[in-house]
């Protein structure tokens, strides 16, 4: 059956593995300290970001340098709404996500008139500078010094890191499942068709622009969600977090993990996020190690870690 080509072929087993992983992560706070939980939170947030990028890049074959802009909107809008208007996080968070989606939708109209590399430049021009906008309006956003994010309060008690840990975990699992279902479906096939040959895709009735827009909006939506989750757990945000550098980091995660594979974003996010913390005693070299890993993967596993392993398995089977 083709119904599980994405992971290792068997949906029931995939669900079981996912369930086990989620349960293990849920009991993790009983075992390890705050520092490790912080790293897991970051990994989860970058997993959400990279999954979004994977749908647009890995499946639909378009390059995006603008995801960090929507990450930025998703982080700043709820923060501003909480700080200046006193909104509750539960309301501010969805508003941030919707704002990000709306901006993405508006931007998609000029953007989708472009193809391939011109479009990559377009994403950079239209979305990447969004963090500069937030840097400019100092009175509202705190400018380049950044701003404190007010803590979430439920029924008079302030939520701690554990609350953020669990909410991020739930979001990550749901986003992973959505990507899992999308990858091996009518929509996933249409996206891959557009990636592999746009002319041929149109010749069999796939409206290429419709699917490019869909993939873009999913990418933007997930970036917005990741932004809202990130700001709240970090308790402090500044524009530089959302500059081109963070977008490059997502791209690197995707390339290391494997474009167009369902587990690739997860593996890439785990490796690249945890390296600076593993190498904390020699942190000056962390960037160098990340670079070496990227280089080695591109040289020896051009399809990414997951992509290359999957290929090897396919040959044996």
């Amino acid at each position: 059956m083709p119904l599980g080509l994405t992971m290792l072929g068997n949906r029931k087993r995939d669900f079981f593995i996912l369930l086990v992983v989620v349960v293990l992560l849920m009991i993790l706070p009983l075992v390890v300290g705050e520092f490790y939980l912080y790293v897991v939170r970051l990994i989860c947030i970058y997993t959400i970001l990279t999954i979004g990028l994977n749908i647009f890049m890995g499946y639909c074959g378009q390059i995006n340098f603008g995801a960090s802009g929507f990450f930025c909107i998703g982080a700043y809008i709820p923060t501003i709404l909480q700080m200046k208007l006193g909104w509750h996080y539960l309301v501010a968070f969805p508003v941030g996500v919707i704002t990000s989606l709306f901006v993405g939708w508006v931007v998609s109209w000029p953007l989708l008139r472009l193809r391939s590399h011109a479009m990559a430049i377009g994403t950079m021009a239209l979305a990447m500078p969004i963090y500069l906008v937030f840097e400019r309006f100092e009175k509202i956003t705190g400018g380049s010094d950044g701003t404190v994010v007010p803590p979430t309060i439920f029924f008079g008690s302030t939520m701690g890191n554990l609350f953020y840990y669990y909410s991020i975990l739930v979001f990550t699992a749901v986003v992973f499942l959505i990507a899992y279902f999308l990858a091996d479906s009518r929509i996933g096939r249409a996206l891959k068709a557009v990636r592999d040959n746009q002319d041929a895709a149109e010749a069999i009735g796939v409206d290429a622009n419709h699917y490019r827009r869909l993939a873009w909006l999913v990418n933007v939506l997930l970036a917005g969600i990741a932004g809202g989750l990130y700001a709240q757990q970090a308790a402090y945000i500044s524009p530089v977090t959302f500059s081109l550098g963070s977008n490059i980091l997502m791209l690197v995660m995707l390339c290391v993990g494997g474009q167009g594979t369902i587990l690739g974003p997860v593996v890439g996010a785990i490796i690249m996020t945890s390296i600076p913390y593993i190498l904390i005693s020699i942190q000056h070299y962390a960037l160098l190690v990340q670079g070496l890993i990227l280089f080695a993967v591109l040289r020896f596993m051009p399809a990414g870690i997951v992509g290359t392993i999957a290929k090897r398995f396919a040959r044996v089977a």
């Binding site: 059956m1 083709p2 119904l3 080509l5 499942l177 959505i178 279902f181 999308l182 479906s185 009518r186 929509i187 096939r189 249409a190 891959k192 068709a193 990636r195 592999d196 040959n197 002319d199 041929a200 895709a201 149109e202 010749a203 069999i204 009735g205 796939v206 409206d207 290429a208 869909l214 167009g260 396919a314």
Partner: protein
């Protein structure tokens, strides 16, 4: 005339100063195999590209089932029931053979929209099974079912052509446009292809094909149109065409 599926009226195409097609009138009858032949540069592929919406005509109009399809985008034309293959195969190289055919069902297998897919509705799963079975059936028809799990890029040329044909069938079209389906096939594969084309027609699908192998054309086509430097110079049954002096002079030579 109700048995005419596709009808071209005075279609011309200019590329800059070059007139690739000059007022071509052409009918394709329902349920038969129609061939389009002519020397290189006669405008055959241009004609197919105009019908399938790759580009528009400079003048004239194309009617499909009596409705004009001028100016429609190629995916819209595919949606009306015209499917095609390309002279240089255009497969989805990163996908398996099976997936290439499955994506061909995109037009009619419509349960799997965004929301139903991400919520994993049972109806979507049932449709996936149906798509899978249909795709396997079509692979069997084109004799490449044993390659279902291969990556389509890794297939030899002949089988890539068959896969492209399979993908076109999967859209459940009314009309298939084939641009040199036998190019690069050996004699055995050509015979297989003829067999497959006949079974496609028996499924009620009309075929319009461009072909240079006269053996194939003479064997399977019911009606032949001949183009030369953008103009239609003749049409008829394969036998008549073989005796038409203008056609013999322009294209066939003495052999036929």
């Amino acid at each position: 005339m109700s048995n005419v599926l596709l009808n071209l009226r005075g279609v011309s195409k200019d590329f800059g100063g070059l007139r690739a097609l000059n007022r071509v009138d052409l009918d394709v009858k329902k349920g038969v195999i129609t061939a389009l032949i002519g020397p290189n540069g006669a405008g055959k592929t241009t004609l197919i590209n105009i019908i399938s919406g790759v580009y528009g005509s400079s003048e004239g109009s194309v009617l499909f089932e009596g409705r004009s399809i001028d100016g429609l985008r190629s995916y819209e034309i595919a949606g009306m029931g015209i499917s095609r293959t390309f002279q240089l195969t255009k497969l989805f190289g990163g996908m398996s053979v099976l997936e290439n055919v499955m994506v061909g069902t995109h037009l009619w297998a419509r349960r799997g929209n965004f929301w139903r897919t991400i919520l994993n509705f049972p109806s979507v799963r049932r449709e996936e099974v149906k798509i899978y079975e249909d795709a396997m059936e079509i692979l069997r028809l084109t004799h490449i079912e044993h390659l279902a799990k291969e990556k389509s890029n890794n297939l030899p040329h002949g089988q890539q052509r068959l896969l492209e044909l399979a993908r076109a069938i999967a859209t459940k079209p009314k009309l298939i446009l084939l641009d040199e389906p036998a190019a690069g096939l050996n004699l055995h594969e050509q015979d297989r292809l003829q067999e497959t084309l006949r079974s496609i027609v028996s499924m009620g699908i009309t075929i319009l094909l461009i072909e240079h192998h006269m053996r194939v054309v003479m064997n399977i086509s019911d009606w032949v149109h001949v183009l030369d430097v953008g103009c239609k110079i003749g049409e008829g049954t394969p036998k008549d065409i073989g005796r038409n002096p203008a056609v013999v002079k322009a294209y066939l030579g003495k052999e036929y």
